[in-house]
Subunit: 290 residues, 2 copies
């Protein structure tokens, strides 16, 4: 079985590390960067390399697009023009899905090509092929979003191939995925950004008040240090779900504000207790993993 | 020199561990709980114990009130009625200061008793005398708030006695302290509570969606598991500063919402970049301590 991984960055190269463990898989690495490809060959990360997806796509049983989202979109259009195996599965590793799915509907589905969107909640702040790490996906949530019913029937095949990752595979629709991401990832970033900015508005430069902060503030703002271009792209590409959840967050905040304004201890206790219980239950199923 | 510590919980008992290192200090532990006192004597945490502040207050050079806030308030009223050394310093370990300072102004200052409020940003989720830990205050921000000019002239004496803690002492006014706490501690809690509650409103029970969340959401909601009664007390006792900062946070959030609604990438990049830079600078001065 031939698996083509396009983009040997942290995500793609770490997938290669895991798939190495399947003796029946031949791994073909594609990257624009010749140095990354040389490194991947030298370290045995992949069996073959190419700088051009077109030269290796025809032999692929699985194609994993693990580049930035705009590049994934372009490659999907390209794949629609290439001769591919009838049984090939195309998947990706982009963190937003709506635009990618639109591309798949336009360029792959009309040709009968199977597309299953993928998004793993894994990765560090490291980048590049040298950040490759065996086991990076272990127990990580790994969302799979089949583009149509035909693709849905192939999810089991994809999971079998990706089984060496040890990821926690979850199948859902693109809308479910994007709504979920708005709540658990996108808006927490917006809130962290806004908290950081309002603290600076109120207290002045962070290098001056930083000496006073304890773990809570550090935890709450850690993701405020995230990459601006990446997060601007994510927030705008998931605009509708982000705005919906922002409204929901504001309503929850309103309840606290009203209780504090009214010095309503009973209401405040109830609101905090609800949050406490929910947070305590959040990690029940995978506590050993936190 | 005689130091009386009232309340041998985690905060008070850990202070005792550190002050043990000064050979010239005689430590007297006061607690309502006889079992805690027996443990403190048995382990040599203190030299003497008493269940009654009144019996030991007269010999004290320093009295540290390390009980819950409402109990600190009562003890301040009690100390105003007791015979004390003219040079005694009274301090406390309460996390909100306005009510405690009002008590000090009413009961201690008219008698010429020195009161310096204290609040250390240290401690774990553990409780009780057995949670005592040497070095718990090391490099932790430890705020000192003298009640009047006379008390301000004694801050140096208090720092000298507390020097074995290795804490990072910072002198400020009660108003400055309470405003600072609203920004770096109180509202981050409100926001974490609201984020947790809105996630449950949008996604259902946390034990069901918990399997999907990654580090960002876990970090952002960790303090949502805090004690409801404690935080209800803190938020209501610092009501004005909390509401002011909540308004400031909402304004910062509005800027993000407008940029996302308008698909204004330039504005969004600017807002996120500002947060990123501020967060990166937050820990510059004490990076090794994070």
């Amino acid at each position: 079985m031939n698996v083509v991984i396009v983009g040997l960055g942290e995500m793609g190269a770490s997938l290669a590390c895991d798939l190495r463990q399947s003796p029946q898989i031949k791994l073909i690495g594609v990257d624009r960067n010749a140095v990354s490809l040389a490194y991947a060959r030298k370290t045995g990360l992949v069996d073959e390399t190419s700088q051009d997806l077109a030269t290796v796509a025809a032999q692929a049983d699985l194609i994993i697009l693990a580049t930035p989202v705009d590049s994934i979109e372009k490659m999907i259009a390209q794949l629609g023009q290439l001769p591919l195996k009838a049984t090939v599965i195309v998947t990706d590793a982009g963190s937003t899905k709506r635009a990618i799915m639109a591309q798949a509907r336009q360029f792959l589905l009309p040709k009968g090509i199977t597309f299953i969107g993928g998004h793993a909640m894994a990765g560090s702040h490291l980048a590049g092929v040298q950040a490759a790490k065996t086991g990076m996906y272990r127990q990580a949530p790994y969302f799979l979003m089949p583009a149509d019913e035909q693709a849905a029937s192939r999810v089991g095949d994809l999971k079998d191939i990706l089984a060496p990752t040890g990821a926690n595979f979850i199948t859902m629709s693109v809308d479910e995925h994007d709504d979920l991401m708005a709540v658990i990832s996108d808006n927490p970033h917006v809130i962290a950004f806004a908290l950081m900015n309002s603290a600076v508005n109120d207290l002045g430069k962070s290098q001056d008040f930083g000496q006073y902060v304890a773990g809570g503030f550090k935890d709450m703002t850690r993701i405020a240090a995230s990459n601006p271009q990446l997060w601007s792209d994510i927030l705008l590409s998931n605009q509708k779900a982000v705005l919906n959840n922002l409204t929901s967050f504001r309503q929850a905040l309103d309840q606290f504000q009203r209780a504090i304004e009214a010095s309503d201890e009973t209401a405040l206790l109830q609101l905090i207790s609800r949050a406490q219980t929910s947070r305590q239950n959040l990690l029940i199923k995978r506590e050993n993993n936190d």
